[in-house]
């Protein structure tokens, strides 16, 4: 069909476009109403002096420029900036530990339960996936009991002769604890006098608090099952013939995993890392239910801080500003991660080759 004809007559194709808009209209309206509009409103609130009274678009609400952003970033504003720095510090350690741990663990579990020789594979898949389908609130509450001072975890540790900490009440940074054991209790002046975002470098280096560590274990426990499922799906797409070919070439088990399976899992790995990164930077429910930011503010996160500034302190502009900074952090980190995981030395049109083509070339 020539383009000339449709342009001349405005015939069948032209009406197709209108029909297309008609069919997508419900989705567009819903997305606009529940996604675009709230984001635009939040963006406006983050640069306004709205205090939660009536519409943020009413005439009494003024534009304050970057004041809200300055209020949480500049050291001169005191407590809000310190809280935000603390929240970023806490969440940074959370992300740095949770994302690699859950990715490695879920890949390991996927490889294990994907083995054809494993008996009761169905049972193990269900068992590992179970935490993911359980309400996170329920899991947090169970963890609160497990990790209480006289709870099951400390009881088990005591059989090994270890005197466990009072997990959810212990604000000490894990890195500080380790350094303390090595005899370093005081920060070198270089670290304690300089800092970033109202926290000294020594405070940044504290590591997750003992309480946060328990939440890190919780996150790894709950999300590994979900990502295991993604890896299983990807592993089942890895054709047996590729493995066979590698076997014939004399590759060992580890080599087959490292040089054949893992590269083929790259798209899934990217998905898992991206989802992990986004999910961990937005951590909220565990904090809200479990610790409310305590002990000693070592489990406040930007998402939780955004909630408390808006809903409890009526500082909506500041809350929205935190949300947008968090958004920027996630976007930037995702882009960096995309760049790091890019396929090097492969022409663009050949990237992410489907299995059939790979099979074709190996034959």
């Amino acid at each position: 069909m020539s383009s000339r004809r449709s342009r001349d007559t405005g015939g069948i194709r032209g009406r197709e476009a209108a029909a297309g808009w008609l069919f997508t209209a419900p989705a567009l309206v819903i997305l606009g109403l529940f996604l675009a509009l709230p984001i635009l409103m939040a963006a406006w609130v983050s640069v306004s002096d709205w205090r939660g009274q009536g519409s943020p678009f009413s005439s009494s609400v003024g534009f304050v420029g970057a004041d809200n952003y300055r209020g949480i970033l500049s050291a001169e504003s005191g407590l809000p900036a310190r809280d935000f720095g603390t929240a970023l510090r806490n969440n940074f350690w959370y992300v740095v530990l949770v994302v690699p741990l859950q990715t490695i663990l879920s890949l390991l579990l996927a490889v294990l339960v994907n083995r054809k020789v494993l008996r009761g594979r169905g049972f193990f898949r269900t068992a590992f996936y179970f935490p993911s389908v359980t309400s996170s609130v329920a899991i947090v509450i169970v963890f609160l009991f497990l990790f209480s001072g006289s709870g099951a975890v400390n009881k088990s540790l005591s059989w090994l002769g270890i005197n466990g900490p009072n997990w959810f009440a212990d604000p000490r940074g894990v890195a500080h604890v380790v350094l303390g054991v090595l005899g370093i209790d005081e920060a070198p002046a270089l670290l304690s006098d300089n800092g970033f975002l109202s926290l000294s470098w020594w405070e940044w280096l504290a590591g997750p608090s003992v309480a946060m560590s328990a939440l890190i274990l919780l996150a790894v426990f709950t999300t590994s099952g979900t990502f295991m499922l993604l890896f299983i799906a990807a592993l089942q797409n890895v054709s047996g013939e590729v493995q066979e070919a590698a076997l014939l070439d004399g590759a060992s088990g580890w080599q087959r995993f490292r040089f054949v399976t893992l590269p083929l899992l790259r798209p899934t790995l990217f998905t898992v890392l991206t989802l992990g990164l986004i999910g961990t930077w937005q951590v909220f429910d565990q904090i809200f239910v479990g610790t409310q930011g305590g002990p000693a503010k070592t489990t406040i996160t930007p998402a939780y801080l955004s909630y408390t500034s808006s809903f409890l302190n009526n500082r909506w502009g500041q809350g929205a500003a935190i949300a947008f900074i968090l958004f920027a952090i996630i976007v930037v980190l995702t882009l960096i991660q995309r760049w790091v995981l890019r396929e090097r030395g492969v022409p663009k049109r050949k990237r992410y080759v489907p299995d059939a083509a790979v099979v074709g070339t190996t034959r």
Binding site: S6, A36, S55, F57, S58, S77, G78, P171, A296, N313
Partner: protein
């Protein structure tokens, strides 16, 4: 190449959609924000409460019904799941509840953004409220809302442990030294002498007894030597092992540690009466005033008020309702239903007669100070509490210095 809808058309459609939606939304937001737009005829009031349980909800519902019958208006009570959040949503949507609970540490933030109607000065029973409670809800010389009830901190003693340790009524501590002495005597391998949480909301009582406080006449005084003295005293008792913080006893709050007999004494408010009879009916206890410090007696008081939304269409009816709810008789009803103390002095004698075992709570009303209510203080107190969690091994002066600089930034 087939035809596509031209790009400008797509943008126009998208823009139109968003505009249409904000237009629909915009109309609703502004309604009811005009305070002069008052309704006439019988009023329909909504009351949002942060209830401690069914007893409180039922009592407030019954009172609202009684008022409805008397006045010809209607009042509906809703118990909030999460009061601050539901209030925020109500204010943002332009349809807040007419009457709701406001705690003394958040009153300034609601007053500052214009949410609250400053009505309390007009009430006929305004002089009947305790002066320090009036003070707690006064922002910029405006008495915003009527205190609905209050509580104070007292020393709660497990009488069985007390007798086992060979102590008598003579030994009830009246000074800091006596407190630490009995705490040490009461400490056994299974039970610590005294437990509290580490919050300012408990340890602040000792600051008051030492003559200190976070804010004095509008200026920050967190780093005063009196406050340091108070925290050092607390540390000294903790050091000898006679005082443990609730978190270290695996308890969510000190009342739990006390109820589980892991501590022989605690410092809590009158909510303990309800908690003990509901959760720990087997523990025998006694309530006595807190010991006096170097500057005399002192304790902390906590209170909520009946806030009226400035956006309400029925402010006059709401005032009438609050006057009814804060009347001496009605407050005594609440007191017997869920264990609070009336905020009016005229109900004090009757309350004492009804609650002979708990008079210590009310006897301290005159020496009780409220948590400072300036805007932003709740954040400073939250930060102070975060640091006080490390009090056992921390430096009181450093903790108070940082609270001081945070306070100076907001006052």
């Amino acid at each position: 190449m087939t035809t596509r809808a031209p790009r400008p058309a797509a943008i126009a459609l998208a823009t139109a959609t968003v505009l249409a939606m904000s237009a629909c939304g915009g109309g609703g937001f502004d309604e009811g924000s005009d305070p002069t737009d008052q309704a006439s005829g019988p009023a329909e009031l909504t009351i949002l409460i942060g209830s401690s349980g069914p007893a409180e909800t039922d009592a407030v519902t019954a009172a609202a019904q009684a008022w409805s019958e008397e006045s010809g208006n209607t009042a509906t009570v809703t118990a909030a799941q999460d009061l601050p959040q539901q209030l925020s949503q109500g204010f943002a949507a332009g349809s807040p509840p007419d009457v709701f609970y406001v705690s003394s540490d958040t009153v300034a933030s609601y007053a500052e953004n214009g949410s609250l109607e400053p009505y309390a000065g007009d009430l006929s029973n305004v002089d009947d409220f305790y002066p320090n409670l009036r003070e707690a809800f006064t922002v910029d010389d405006q008495f915003y809302c009527a205190p609905k009830d209050f509580s104070t901190l007292s020393l709660i003693i497990n009488t069985d442990s007390w007798a086992t340790a060979g102590l008598t009524d003579e030994d009830i501590p009246t000074s800091w030294d006596e407190l630490s002495a009995v705490a040490e005597q009461l400490t056994t391998p299974d039970q610590v002498g005294l437990t509290t949480s580490t919050e300012y909301q408990r340890l602040g009582a000792f600051m008051a007894q030492a003559g200190g406080g976070l804010v004095t006449d509008g200026t920050a005084t967190a780093d005063s030597s009196e406050n340091v003295e108070a925290l050092e005293y607390v540390q000294s008792v903790v050091e000898v092992g006679a005082w443990s913080f609730a978190a270290d006893l695996d308890s969510g709050w000190a009342g739990e540690a006390f109820g589980n007999a892991r501590a022989a004494m605690t410092i809590e408010g009158n909510w303990m009466i309800g908690a003990m009879s509901a959760d720990y009916p087997d523990i025998n206890y006694q309530v006595v005033p807190l010991p006096e410090g170097p500057a005399g007696a002192g304790t902390l008081t906590f209170t909520n008020c009946w806030g009226i939304a400035a956006q309400s269409d029925n402010i006059e009816a709401a005032k009438d309702l609050v006057e009814f709810l804060t009347s001496s008789e009605q407050q005594l009803e609440f007191a017997s239903a869920f264990g609070v103390m009336p905020s009016v002095e005229s109900a004090a004698d009757q309350w004492r007669a009804d609650n002979p075992d708990f008079v210590a709570f009310l006897d301290q009303a005159d020496v009780a100070v409220a948590v400072p209510n300036q805007v932003g203080v709740s954040d400073v107190v939250a930060d102070l509490n975060a640091q006080l969690e490390g009090l056992s091994s921390g430096d009181p002066q450093a903790i108070l210095d940082s609270a001081q600089s945070n306070l100076e930034a907001i006052l």
